[in-house]
Assembly symmetry: C2
């Protein structure tokens, strides 16, 4: 017997960057994301002789399996299950996309576990479960636009769908600047960010920013969606730049890409950027501009991969 | 008859970035600077048939002379003088240093005017006068460390000497990343910066930051001086990054230089950076490290000029 779930990655347009409770992964701010059709993870669960985690057909040892096995322990303890389990994940998130796969990975694992043990969870409960694997996974339960409401405890901190099938012309271009693992993990970055003098105003602004973004989405206002997302991402990076000690995920080519987006926008090819905890730049634009922007970026960054994505669906059980 | 004054440039370790009154150049925050021995401007004043401004022996037309001639008008109106004046400036601030010369230029011009007309101004009055030419010029009246107290009107906004001959081992390395004129002037940048959600906390922090820096200077604590200066510069650039619309003076090589400073510091070669309204990076370090840091930077940036400076003196009248 085996259960397989598919979850798509999401990109936060209003970022999660700061934890109220590290163990329970309760954030200091609510976040809002776009689920992406181009990137997903298929994860199956079955009973084995020993626990094991296979990624893209390869058995994962030690460090590479630790986080997944720890999450299995959490799930088994919560539901009082004693089985040894084999997790097999197929990651359809090219490393070269410069997108983190933990959102789709832990959403798919939570969903396959729930299906395997017939837990009969609603989506909010599944989102809570995914959150314990990776904060951003809470949002990958849903398609389209999702909001992870910060809440104040385990029961209240989960995502819900804002609009699972948005009728908005919005495309994302993932520009891979560097595919090396980042030197400062998100967990470490978030811890350090708290020391910024701008961290408190950043947290205090969250509600206003979220409301502005929801209003822009309801109005299908691409320019507003893009400019709010760009400002929100820059706030997060501004906080890192002013932490003690300061740090930045930007690399020289990140600045080059930022300036190119600004230039294209000023030249009438409307686009905006957002940047997660890494050097890679994601461009938000309309479908009609995708081809031109891709061509211009590929000229300026000859060795860089660019993948485009639209809205992706929520979680599904494949078999 | 002719009077010549010499003023040295200064680098702000606590930055001026925001105006309370644009016309009177009254800032929203107090700033603190180090006057630099390596860079200075000599300016002479004499009576002519017509107004004229010569820079490094070249007559300056139109745009290039406008700011200087407008400042002459202000000076003549204030002191009810009707002479036509010839200004001759010799700028010993290599373009390649990536340092703005307006601090030394307007300090030297104010001082030569005061000397020429025997105005009998004390240094605070001279600082106020220089401020009307360029805010940072108010600090170039003094050697060593100077503080420009923001004040609240023309009479109260001027610089004073914190320590004109500091007994601190502190050197500055000016790393020229790009010598093209910046696309966003300081005046425009300051106007735009006000729209950042972090602008208000930046202004509110000024007093605390200034006090911390004064304490570090009094303790001759190089590490503290360097790290406070670095954070303060990053705050200014974080504000630009989060303005509406966002902008940044950083270029790809600015990020490269920042990361190299971080690396050298982690490797035990203690240094810090500060960055003004432009892409160029200034490194703060101790005398014993200057040679090593210069060599390493020249390897990583083969086409870049690096000039070192120590504490410079205050204003002087040459003849």
């Amino acid at each position: 017997m085996k259960k397989t779930a598919r979850a798509h990655t999401n990109i936060a347009l209003i970022k999660y960057w700061g934890k109220a409770d590290a163990k329970l992964r309760i954030p200091l701010m609510s976040s809002l994301s776009m689920t992406l059709d181009a990137f997903y993870t298929d994860t199956s669960l079955e009973i084995g002789e020993e626990d094991g985690f296979y990624l893209n057909g390869q058995f994962q040892y030690e460090e590479s399996s630790r986080r997944v096995l720890a999450y299995l322990d959490f799930l088994r303890e919560k539901y009082q299950i004693n089985d040894k389990l084999i997790v097999k994940s197929q990651n359809h998130v090219p490393t070269s996309a410069g997108l983190a796969s933990s959102s789709s990975a832990f959403a798919a694992l939570a969903a396959s576990f729930a299906a395997f043990y017939d837990l009969d969870l609603d989506k909010a409960q599944l989102s809570r479960l995914a959150r314990m694997g990776s904060g951003s996974a809470s949002r990958s339960i849903y398609g389209g636009f999702a909001i992870w409401q910060k809440g104040f405890d385990d029961a209240s901190s989960y995502a819900f769908a804002l609009d699972e099938e948005p009728d908005i012309d919005l495309q994302l271009l993932a520009v891979e600047i560097n595919q090396n693992p980042k030197k400062i993990s998100s967990t470490q970055g978030m811890q350090q960010a708290i020391s910024s003098p701008f961290f408190k105003p950043w947290v205090e602004r969250n509600e206003v920013e979220l409301n502005e973004m929801v209003a822009a989405i309801r109005k299908k206002d691409f320019s507003k969606i893009g400019s709010i997302a760009e400002l929100n991402a820059n706030e997060m990076h501004a906080i890192n730049l002013t932490a003690k000690p300061e740090f930045t995920y930007f690399e020289p080519n990140t600045i080059k890409a930022i300036k190119l987006v600004e230039k294209l926008r000023n030249d009438g090819l409307e686009c905006y950027y957002t940047i997660d905890a890494g050097p890679n730049v994601k461009i938000l634009t309309k479908l009609k501009n995708v081809k031109d922007i891709k061509e211009i970026f590929m000229k300026e960054f000859p060795n860089v991969n660019i993948i485009s994505a639209g809205f992706g669906p929520g979680i599904s059980i494949l078999d």
